[in-house]
Every structure is written in C-alpha cells, then in structure tokens.
C-alpha cells in the first residue's frame, strides 16, 4: 500500500471500475473480509465459540477458573505446538518431540540429583545442569536435522527412529542410574540445601520456571473500577477504529473530528453508573437502554463530524430469496426457543444418557440459534443487495430479535451468570447491531483503499483490543474482598503461561519479520526452488529441528519444576497432539503454509475440548467422540473461512 491519498474523483473511477471486471488486485475488500485473510482467524473464532459453549454449559468453567486451567493445560502443549508448526511450515515433522520433553526433563533431573542422598545423579548445580541439558537438546535437534538432510529420508521415518531411541533411553537410563522408572525430586534441592549452604540455584530457577500466582492472596479493591475503565476505553477505541475502517472520510478532517464520539462516551458513563448502582431488572433494563442510546449518540456524532453522508438510502423492497432465508432463520430461532422451553431449567442434577439435562438443553438452544443467526445474516445480505434501506431495516430487526432473545434467556435461566453477564452482553450486541444499521444507512462506506485511514483505524482498533485484554487480565489476576467473602475457589496462574505467550510472540515475530522466517516458508513450499534462489535449505531445516528440541527442553524443565518428579513415559505419544494443535490452528501438513499464532490457538482449543467435558460433568466414556467432533468442526470451520478469504483475495 502506498501513502497516496486518493481523491474523490479517483475513488469514483475505481468504484465504477469495480462494477466492470477490474484488475482483481485493485478490488477494495470490506473491513470484515480483510480480517479473515489470516490463517489463524478461523481457529480464533472456533476457540471463541468453544469457550462460549463450555462456559454456558458448565458450572465451573468460569472466567477465572476456566482460564487458569485452560491456560495451564495449553501452556506446555502450546509451546511445543508453536515450535512444531514452524517445523511443519518448513516441510518436516518431528515425531520425537513428545518423548523428548520427558527425556530432557529427566536429563536435567539426573544432572542435579544428589549422588550422596540416593543412587544416581551427577549432583550438579542447576546453573550448570540447565545449560548442559540445553546442549543435549541442541544436539538432539542437530542429529534429527542432519539425519534428515544427509539421508534425504522422510523426516517421519528418521524421527520415528529417534522417538524409539529416546523412549528406550529414558527408561534404560532411569533404571540404570536411579533404579526407578521415575526420576526426582527436584524440590529436594530446596528441602536439603546442602552443607555448602546453597540450594544449587533452586530458589532462583524456581522463580523463573515454577513460580505461581495465587489469585486469592492478591486483593485489590479498585480492581473492578480499573476493569470497567479498561473495557469501556477498549470498546470505544474499537468502535472508533471500525468506523474509521468502514466509512468514507469527508475531505480534510483532522483528528478533532473524532471528538464527535465524546457525547456518546458521556452518555455511556451515565449508563454504566446506572447499572452499577441498581440491581433490579428495571434498573438493568434502564442502564442497558441508556448504553444503547450512548452508542447511537457516539456513532452518529462521530459520523456527522467525520464521514460523508450517503446521498440516497433507497426504498424498501423484498425478494423471494431474501424472504426465504429470513423465514428459515426465524423458524430456526423459534425451534431453539421451543427446545429451551421443553426442558425444566431447574433440573441440573439429572445426567441423561450422554450429557447433563442442562447440557443437552444448551446444545439444542445454542446450535439452533446459531443456525438461525447464520440464515438471518444471509437474508440480511440479500436484503442489502436490494437496497440500503431494506438491508438496514432487516439488520435493525435482527438486533431487536437479539434483544428479545436476551430477555428470554434471562427469564429462563436459573444460573446467575446467564441472568447477569449473558443478558448484558446480548443487550449490548443488540444495541450495537441497531446502531450499526442506522449508521450504515445514513453514511457512506469507503470503497477504495485509503492507506492512512486504514493504518489509523487499525491502530485504534488494536489499541482498543489491547485495552480490553488488559482489563480482562486484571480481572483474572486479582480478587476483591467481596469475592473472597463469597468463597470463590482459588485460581492459580503459573509462569508457564508467560513462557507460552512469550515463546508464541517470539516465534510469530521471527516467522513474520525476519529473513529466517521467509526461508522457513520457502523451504517448506519448495525446497529445491528455495535452494536455487540462495536459501540455505539444509541449514534452515536443521535449525528448525533444533528449535523444536529447544522447545522440548523448555517444556521438560517446566514440567520438572511443576511435578518435581518425571516419569519415564512422560510425553510419549504427545507428539501427535502437537501436530494436531498445529493443524487445527491452520498449519498445513504439506508444508509451506501455516501460522504459529494459530498453533497456539489450536493448543488452547484442544485444552478446552479436554477440560470442558469433565467440567460439564458429561459421561467421560464418550469423551473422545466429543473431542474428535470438536477438532473436526474447528478444522472445517478454519478451512472454510480460509477458502472464502482466499477467494476474495
């Protein structure tokens, strides 16, 4: 994209050229289409829907408790999935990755184990043992990479060989040196700080690899205020960013024109204060209504100050396909309501054949509502093609339908989280839909590329999302006295989660922004072609294998600090979970395409699928049926969205 601002006539020319068959690279894509061109977006959407689903179905799958267990499970899985996805983008597999995690943990433990206390172990300090075991890890990766390069055998075969060697060596060495099939215990270092007075660096490294944050021991009374401010600020920024990306700016509008949103923000604060100070239904409804009005005021204010009006809004019309889709959507939603009504909301204990009664009720309700929503959206886009006004009216009606649904859920559900959170979120969504329908009718959308507006809008929207992430993080990490008094269960966040985030961010940056990252895509896409244009293909692949074994070292050390003792079979068979997580996250088995961020999301999806079922008290005999279905649906959704996106591109 260039920095050239396109004036109205040029824009008009491009817009009219669009109607004919223009150069496809110049076709302007809508904001929402452009969002979907990334390989990880499908996985992110799948993750969000799975989270919402289990959150709705399960009692303890709450914001904090759910996040702490999901992130705990996905941290070690995710670190490996990210590394494995890079290797897969580079066109190779590593079947020894799972067994290597346990093996490198055992190597570390054997190096630090005291010789004098029990049998076996070198009795080294962690300061020496950790670098040594890391060198072992690098050697393992180098061995895998070199073997694959030199023999030109498929990495499947080579690493299958190293897999068996590692599995055998783990057991063999553990029994030879320690006479057990488990090696431990790391915290003996702390308990028996030796005669020389040191704990061999245990306290230091435990803070790096084993630290945990116990939420219940960190009270912060002002937490909710900060949370609310961060979320509101984030929403406003996101809202402004979306407007900026979507609408066509009037000429020569400075940043001052953004002030148009301020009256809306003022009303929004008033609405939140109403919500905060009232607890009854009437107060909530009033607060929601004020917040809806705030959105309208903010949106129209912003648009009036900054964006150009649309000359004509068209007239109402209808067509058979539109009515068909809308009718089917309404029927599906009605069926969802009937399904919800045909179960007794008070019965929560009964476990039917597969799931709890409430679980089945939620599946039917959520599933049918989703189908209905999709059909309604199809109808809306057909209405939009008839005329702007028709589309907007249909969209507004959908928004009103969402609001009605919110009241229905609130009336039907016995669960407090539905009565509070779902109700308010759905009302906010309904208000946003109605406001959006009004704004998009009155004001003109942009149909040409405006690099400055795009960059500004994106920055603002991303800032908004970050503010919301900060808000949610604050809410998860701290507790208030009110919550403690209610006896909320403790949630622990471990440093493993930070390792997971940092590792994912680093790998994503390397893949997207460095020469090495481009080489990875090149050797995965076509190794010979890559070599001919000067990419050091063999070296790149070896480095990728070393990245995977380095990640396995990290996970092994994290496990050692977490469990203190490592079994000889730790990690065996996990390598397929890494590959599955990477594939769910949009990485292709054939190499040359994929995303590390997607792999991290894939790990989160798997963790949720594994954790959600016991949380929901569903019959555990059927767990793998659910797991398989969820994974399959995630991959299908991901592929579908991606193929749509690529068709647009």
């Amino acid at each position: 994209m260039s920095d050239v601002t396109i004036d109205d006539s040029a824009a008009g020319a491009i817009a009219s050229a669009q109607d004919e068959v223009a150069d496809e690279r110049l076709v302007y894509q809508g904001v929402f289409q452009r969002l979907f061109i990334r390989p990880e977006v499908g996985a992110t959407l799948a993750a969000a829907s799975i989270w919402i689903f289990f959150w709705a179905v399960s009692g303890p799958f709450g914001l904090t408790g759910g996040a702490s267990t999901i992130l705990d499970v996905s941290s070690t899985l995710g670190i490996m999935a990210v590394a494995v996805s890079m290797l897969m983008i580079g066109g190779e597999f590593d079947l020894s990755a799972g067994a290597a995690t346990g093996a490198l943990g055992i190597v570390t433990l054997l190096l630090v184990r005291d010789i004098t206390g029990d049998m076996g172990g070198a009795g080294l300090s962690l300061w020496v043992a950790l670098p040594l075991s890391f060198i072992v890890a690098m050697g393992l990766g180098w061995f895998n990479g070199t073997m694959v390069n030199r023999t030109s055998l498929p990495s499947f075969i080579v690493t299958l060989g190293s897999f068996f060697i590692i599995v055998g060596a783990k057991l063999g060495f553990a029994k030879l040196l320690v006479d057990q099939i488990q090696v431990g215990k790391l915290d003996d270092l702390a308990i028996a700080a030796d005669d020389r007075g040191g704990d061999k660096g245990y306290a230091f490294f435990d803070r790096i690899f084993g630290a945990e944050w116990d939420r219940n021991s960190h009270i912060w009374e002002a937490r909710d205020a900060f949370y609310t401010i961060a979320i509101v600020a984030g929403l406003v920024l996101l809202f402004v960013g979306l407007h900026e990306l979507y609408f066509r700016r009037r000429k020569e509008r400075g940043l001052v024109s953004l002030a148009g949103v301020l009256p809306g923000v003022a009303v929004l604060i008033a609405g939140i204060l109403i919500l905060h100070n009232t607890d009854d239904t009437g107060g909530n409804a009033l607060g929601a209504a004020v917040i809806g009005a705030a959105m309208l005021v903010g949106s129209v204010g912003l648009c009036a100050m900054r964006y150009s009006r649309h000359p004509g809004i068209g007239s109402l019309g209808s067509s058979a396909p539109m009515l068909k889709a809308l009718g089917a959507g309404v029927v599906a939603v009605a069926l969802a309501v009937v399904a919800a009504l045909s179960f007794d909301p008070a019965v929560d204990e009964d476990i039917t054949f597969l799931v709890t009664e409430q679980g089945l009720r939620a599946i039917l309700f959520v599933g049918l509502s989703m189908i209905g929503a999709v059909l309604l959206l199809v109808g809306q886009s057909r209405a939009r093609s008839i005329s702007r006004l028709t589309g907007s009216v249909v969209l507004a009606l959908i928004g009103i339908g969402v609001a009605a649904m919110a009241f229905f859920i609130r009336a039907e559900s016995a669960s407090p989280k539905f009565r509070g959170q779902v109700f308010s979120i759905m009302l906010a969504v309904a208000a946003a839909i109605v406001v959006w329908s009004i704004a998009t009718t009155l004001f003109e959308e942009r149909r040409f590329i405006d690099a400055r507006a795009d960059r500004f809008g994106q920055s603002v929207a991303i800032a908004g999302i970050l503010a919301m992430v900060v808000g949610v993080t604050i809410r998860m990490l701290w507790v208030t006295q009110v919550e403690l008094d209610r006896g909320i269960p403790p949630a622990k966040f471990s440093v493993r989660i930070i390792w997971f985030f940092v590792f994912t961010a680093a790998c994503t940056w390397v893949l997207a922004r460095t020469k090495f990252g481009s080489w990875v895509f090149a050797v995965g896409g076509n190794k010979d072609a890559a070599r001919q244009i000067g990419v050091p293909a063999a070296r790149t692949k070896t480095q990728l294998f070393m990245l995977v074994s380095g990640a396995a070292w990290l996970v092994g050390v994290l496990l050692a600090f977490r469990l203190n003792t490592i079994q000889a079979n730790t990690g065996d068979g996990e390598e397929f979970e890494y590959i599955i997580a990477a594939v769910v996250g949009g990485t292709m088995l054939t190499g040359g395409y994929g995303s590390t961020f997607g792999a991290a999301i894939g790990a989160v999806i798997m963790a949720m699928a594994i954790q959600g079922l016991p949380s929901s008290r569903w019959n555990s005999d059927w767990r793998f049926v659910f797991l398989g279905a969820i994974l399959l649906l995630s991959v299908i959704a991901n592929n579908y969205i991606r193929s749509k996106a690529e068709a647009i591109r």
């Binding site: 009692g59 705990d72 499970v73 006479d179 488990q182 068979g573 397929f576 594994i610 016991p614 008290r617």
Partner: protein, 358 residues
C-alpha cells in the same frame, strides 16, 4: 507433482498411525498398560508390570537358578511374563528367598511379555522333568493348553499374578495373586472408615478392564456416592491434574479421591492442593513419591498387592505338595492382597522397599 504430494501425505498419514501404535507399544515397557490390558483377557485383570512404578530392583537378568542348599533334589520352574522390572524383581526375590529357605532349585524364566517364549519355556520345563511349574497367565488362550499338557505329564502347576479365571481349567492346584475387584473392595472399606461420602475414582486409562474393576470393587463396598471417570493419561500429568480439578470443581461435594495407580494418586493430591480442598486420597501400588506422601499424611493409603508373596508362596506350596502332598487353597485362589500402606506402616514399608522385598 500434485499427485505425488498427495501420495506422500497419504503415506505420512499411514506412518502416523503406525507410529501411534508403535508409541503405545513403546510406552508400555515403562507404563501401566500392557499387562493390565493383555491380562484383561482372563477377566481377572491382574496386573503384571502394571506395577512397574514400584520401587527397587536388583536383577541380574536372564535365566538363572538358585542352587539347592542341600538334601533336596527338587527343581521348580517359575515361568512368568516378567520383564524383570521393579515389580517382577520383587516377585523374583520372593521366589529365590523361598527356594533358599526350603532348599530347592528354582529356575526363573522371564518371558518379557512374550507368550510365545513362555510356551517354549513350559515345554522345556516339562522336558527337564520339573517337579513343579508356577506360571503367570497374561494371555490364557495361548498358555492354558501347554499348562494342561504339564498337568497331564504329572507336573503340579500353580498360577500366579494373573490367571485367576483359568487355573481351574488348567487343573492347577491353586492361584496365588490378587483380584482387582477385591483390592477395590478393600479401598472402599478404607473410605468408609475415613467417613467419606462421595469418592471420585480416577482412572488413567479409558478402557482397561483391570483398572475398571478396581473402581467397581470400591463402588461395591463404599457406602456413599462414587463418580467413576477417566481423567487423562499418566504421560501428560499436567493435563491429568487439571482434569481432576475440573471434575472436583464440577462436583463440590466430592470429599475423597481414589487414583487406581500411583501417578494418578499424586495427580489427585496436586489437584486438591491447587483447589485448597481437603480430600481423603487413596492410591494403588508403591512409588517413592506416594510413600513419602503417606508418611507426610497427605495421602491416606495405597493398595499394595504384595507381589513378594506371589514369588514366595508358590515355591513353598510346590515344596509342600512335592514333599507332603498338601494342596493349599481348597480349590479357591490364595490372595496376596490387598495389603495397605498407611501412615502407620509407611516408614517400615519404605525400608523394606529399599531392601527390595516390597
């Protein structure tokens, strides 16, 4: 080119499946699965190296014999699916101690989970004119026939460890071992004594008859509610801990946990600690971790099948049958368990584990 790539992907997929099977086989040597699942054929689900996590070991490997001290020229053969791991080395030590005590020759023939090897060994023992054969039955279909031939040849046969459902078909004098169901029943009684009302029975494998029987036995004697769940494999203990946490959170009234293996019992303890819940925790089999936890009072008990007896008793019983025509058991199996390790005997057991007899 595209076709070739598709073919490669297909090959990869096949290799993945093959590797998945291979990985199971590989982990069996270390894990809890092979014998539990293979002996599930006999319904008894007695486990062999399911107790691999047990502690000490001091084997010399291979066939070896303890020479008779003096007087007796009796030779007994012990033919098992032993892998000479921590579990079986204790059995072996029991058998050797008994042979030394009564002064007979013992030939220890470890089959290393290969029934074919065991069939050959049985034929060898008959050929050598054995005075008694004690055999485990990991896969009855292959082993019942050869042992019937031994009985037909006039050799007294005993079964040990696994084979509780087939020893009568063989014509064996008795079976020496533990049944999983009865071991579970013992655990149920323990929870009753501890005043528990709702036990979560956590399994580390989804379809393992032996582990399921442990839970079923516990549910049989326990007077309160039992929730029986598969909560993740031992190979991914982080996942296991969190799944147990999820079940505990979904069922706030659970006040006890039975892990039907030593690793999963420790996972239950970690989950309870994470949630700040006070649970009565029981486990199966002996590891250093679990004994330390019992000594420290954080785990109430672990079920021990006392495999030393599974080596010691067959030799003594074969000796008595050969010299005194005694037939123990009265047609019923001789049970070696459940024995329980609790805070009362944990330190004693710990010392005995170090000596290699527990």
């Amino acid at each position: 080119m595209i076709k070739l790539r598709k073919l490669l992907v297909l090959l990869f997929a096949i290799a993945m499946i093959a590797a998945a099977c291979g990985s199971d086989g590989g982990s069996d040597a270390a894990g809890d699965s092979s014998d539990d699942s293979s002996s599930s054929d006999d319904g008894g689900g007695d486990d062999g190296d399911g107790d691999d996590e047990a502690m000490a070991e001091d084997d010399d490997g291979g066939d070896d014999s303890v020479d008779a001290v003096q007087g007796s020229d009796l030779t007994f053969h012990m033919i098992t699916h032993s892998d000479d791991g921590p579990f079986w080395s204790v059995v072996k030590r029991g058998a050797e101690a008994a042979a030394a005590d009564v002064g007979v020759t013992l030939v220890w023939m470890p089959g290393n989970n290969d029934p074919g090897q065991m069939v050959t060994d049985i034929a060898t023992a008959i050929g050598e004119g054995s005075n008694g054969i004690a055999a485990s039955l990991p896969s009855p279909d292959q082993l019942v026939g050869p042992l019937q031939e031994a009985v037909a040849a006039g050799v007294p046969v005993y079964t040990l460890n696994s084979g509780v459902n087939d020893y009568q078909d063989i014509g064996a004098t008795t079976h020496i071992g533990q049944t999983e169901f009865i071991a579970g029943q013992g655990a149920g009684e323990r929870f009753n004594d501890a005043g528990a009302t709702h036990v979560l029975c956590g399994r580390q494998e989804q379809s393992n008859v032996g582990l399921t029987e442990r839970c079923d036995g516990m549910a049989d004697t326990f007077s309160g509610t039992v929730t029986d769940e598969f909560v993740g494999l031992d190979a991914d203990q982080t996942d296991q801990i969190n799944q147990i946490k999820a079940v505990l959170e979904a069922n706030p009234d659970i006040d006890a946990f039975l892990g039907v293996g030593p690793v999963i019992a420790m996972s239950g303890l970690a989950a309870a600690n994470d949630l700040g819940r006070e649970l009565t925790i029981g486990g199966f089999d002996i590891t250093p971790d679990i004994i330390d936890a019992i000594e420290g009072g954080s785990i109430a008990f672990t079920v021990d099948q006392q495999q030393y007896l599974q080596g010691y008793l067959p030799v003594i019983l074969m000796y008595l049958e050969a010299t005194n025509a005694n037939t123990a058991g009265g047609g019923l199996p001789v049970l070696t368990g459940p024995g329980f390790v609790t805070i009362d005997n944990a330190s004693d057991v710990k010392a005995l584990v170090a000596e290699g007899t527990r």
